[in-house]
Every structure is written in structure tokens, then in C-alpha cells.
Symmetry: C2
Subunit: 230 residues, 2 copies
């Protein structure tokens, strides 16, 4: 045992990383549909069959890229949030939303991979769940801070009777310390945020919205108000 981890294991990690890097490059350049195992192998100077020692199938490679994408998005959002950690909750909320938008515009194909149509079959592998939750947790955190902070949270109208139980369940799962209407509104806002980003990204706003950035900022603000921030 000359090295801590074994030279073999280290080499394996390096090759795995190189494969993912090259795959990410092709993903960014051409999109998920054109990501080809053979092309990745070719670019790396290996033969295609050798690649299967590291990823048992193309879908497994894609899954790895999906997890990385969630992480990258989460990290971006968290960093942007830290930069305005002292600001008022509504400003922090908007900052997180804008970070999500920025990342998405900068990584359109990776966005499509995680929030567009599920590319492989339909399976969202269990492994992606924790990574996927990061942005959501961040938004919850902002609202919780506002709730506990000096200004408090705007009181939201009660949810309709038919939704009372469900809202309670959502709150219990996501943020037991927040009022049920706030928790429900948070989930709605979370989905709506990605609706806005997706529409801009996939061209639905072409010929409709020109000044995308102020438009989005305004919408994000409204979203924040919808969960009780002010």
C-alpha cells in the first residue's frame, strides 16, 4: 500500500472525471441528444468499449451529469445568496431567483437536462433527489429567516378548505416552523420560478418579452410577495 488510496483507485477517479468533463463539453456544445459515447471516447483517445468500464450505459453517464448539474446550480444559487446575506429577505429571495436564471442562461443544455423533458425513459434516479432539493431548501431558508426575523412575514390568506389537510402535510414535511399557507405558497412559487426561467430559455418569450432581465426581476419580486415577503 504505497499510497493512501491506491494508485489504481486514483487513476480510476481521474479517468471518470475526464470522461464527465468531455461529456459535459459535448453536452454544452450540442445538447443531450447528440452526446455520443463513442465521440467522448474518441476525444479522450480511448476506444468506445473501454468507456463502459466506467459507465455501464449512456444513461448512466447522463445521470452523473444530471447530479453534477443540480450541484452546480445549487452552488451558484448558494454563492449568490451568501453575497447578499445581510440584505432584506425580499432582496435575498430575488437574488436567489436571479442566480437560478443566470445559471440557466449560462448552462442551457444542462438546464434542459434537469428541468426539461426527462431525456432517458422516465426514471428520476433516487440519487438525484438530494442534489435537486438544494435550491428549494435555499428558498425555504430565506422565508424562514424572514418569518423569524424582525419584520416577520406578511400574513397569507388561509388556503381553501379542500386543500387544508394537504397544506398542513406539505408544511410538516418541508418546514414545520412555517404556517401552512406559506409552505403551500412556497411550493407554488418554486414551480413558477422555473416556469419563468424555462419559458425564457426555450424561446417562448421570443417576440413577446424583450427586456428580459427587468421583467424577470419584477416577476421574481412578485413571487416573493406571494409567499409573504416584503
Amino acid at each position: 500500500m504505497s499510497t493512501v488510496q491506491g494508485a489504481r483507485a486514483r487513476a480510476r477517479l481521474e479517468v471518470t472525471a475526464a470522461i464527465k468533463d468531455e461529456a459535459r463539453r459535448q453536452l454544452a456544445a450540442e445538447g443531450a441528444a447528440k452526446l455520443s459515447l463513442r465521440a467522448v471516447a474518441r476525444e479522450l483517445g480511448m476506444v468506445s468499449s473501454a468507456l463502459y468500464r466506467y459507465f455501464p450505459s449512456r444513461d448512466d453517464l447522463l445521470t452523473a451529469l444530471i447530479i453534477d448539474a443540480y450541484d452546480s446550480l445549487g452552488q451558484s444559487a448558494e454563492r449568490s445568496h451568501e453575497a447578499v446575506a445581510e440584505a432584506a429577505p425580499l432582496e435575498r429571495w430575488v437574488a436567489v431567483c436571479e442566480a437560478v436564471r443566470r445559471w440557466s442562461l449560462d448552462h442551457p443544455h444542462e438546464y434542459a437536462l434537469i428541468y426539461g423533458s426527462p431525456v432517458p425513459g422516465y426514471v428520476a434516479p433516487q440519487a438525484t433527489v438530494p442534489a435537486a432539493a438544494r435550491v428549494g431548501l435555499l428558498l425555504i431558508g430565506v422565508v424562514r429567516d424572514a418569518h423569524d426575523g424582525p419584520g416577520g412575514l406578511e400574513e397569507l390568506p388561509a388556503v381553501p378548505e379542500e386543500l387544508r389537510a394537504e397544506a398542513d402535510r406539505i408544511a410538516a414535511d418541508l418546514a414545520p416552523d412555517l404556517p401552512a399557507p406559506v409552505a403551500a405558497a412556497l411550493v407554488v412559487a418554486w414551480a413558477q420560478l422555473f416556469g419563468l426561467v424555462g419559458f425564457e430559455l426555450f424561446g417562448q418569450f421570443n417576440r413577446v418579452v424583450e427586456e428580459r432581465e427587468p421583467f424577470f426581476r419584477h416577476a421574481a419580486r412578485q413571487l416573493g410577495r406571494g409567499v409573504g415577503l416584503h
Copy 2:
């Protein structure tokens, strides 16, 4: 000229329709990624090269399916709207939203085709634009009716200064008879609607929201209030 349109032309239309039908079947069964020209031809008892007389490429077939999907969605929404044409504007708004959700759940792969990641390259062919606008126009109509109707429209706060000009432009393009803040809010709500639907469809709500239908109805109602309906 024995027939009105020529037997040949009619045959062509029939074959074209048969191809699209079979393609739609495969799309619904397996998704856009697995839609194969050869498989379609095989199922129709023709040879693959013959199919190219009708669609010059796989992308062209997909484009045809996209237009049909937009039309199908638009028709669904319009029908649902007509069924509640006498109701209050907010009810009609919710009905249209629910029709969009219903159609999307019933045609997940077609939804993915038009609102998911752009499957081929990036091109949204010009031909799809009018079909794509139908749901939007329907929503605009509901709000316009409310604006002109007895109850009127809730007054919306003015948009921030940085967005004033853009909101005016959007209103001029989309609905010159509506106040600019309403027009801007409409675009936002439009995007958010598809954010909600997409999140449910693509599994983002798994383990988060259980009672999807009342949850969506509530969210749709909020969306309607956001554009001034009541």
C-alpha cells in the same frame, strides 16, 4: 380532372395522415427520443426510404407533430372554456388552466415536445408560432372580458419604473385595450402556469405534493388573482 382534388393528392394526404398517426402512437408510447422513422415505416408496411417522400427528415416529422400538439392543446382549452362561457371570469380562467393541466397529463410526451427541451437542434420553426399562441390568446380573452364586463378588473399596482416602457410595449403588442400592468402580469401568469404543469408532469412534485388537483386549482386561482381577476 375526374375528382375535385385529384386522386393522387388525396392519397398523399391519407398517407401523410397515416404516418403522423403512427408517429404519434410511437411518441405517446416511447417518447420523442425513441421515435424512429424506420419503425414508423415498418409499421405502415412501407420501406423507410418511401417515407422521405412525405417528410424530408425526422425533424420535419417532429415539427408536424409539434404543430398538431399545439392545436390539440389549444382545442382542448377552447372547448373547456366554451363549457363555462357563462361563468365568472375567474372561474373561466381556472377552467382554462385546468384544461391545460388535464391535456398535459393525458399527453405527456406531446407536452414534452412543445414545452420541454427543444428536441431537435434549437429551431422553433416559424410555422409553429400561430398554433403556439392559442392558449395565450384564450387567457387574454378571459381577462379582456373581465375588464370590459360588469365586475371590471382589480386595479394592479403600477410596474416598477425600469419596466414601464417594456410593459407598455407588451400591452401594445398583446392587448392594446388592457392596462400595461395587466398585460405584463398576464405574460408572467402564462409562464407560471406552465411551470406548475411542467413540475407536476416531470415528477418534481413527487414526494412533495400529493393532492395534485386541489393544489393546482388553488394555484390557478392565485394566478388569476395575480392578473386582476376576482
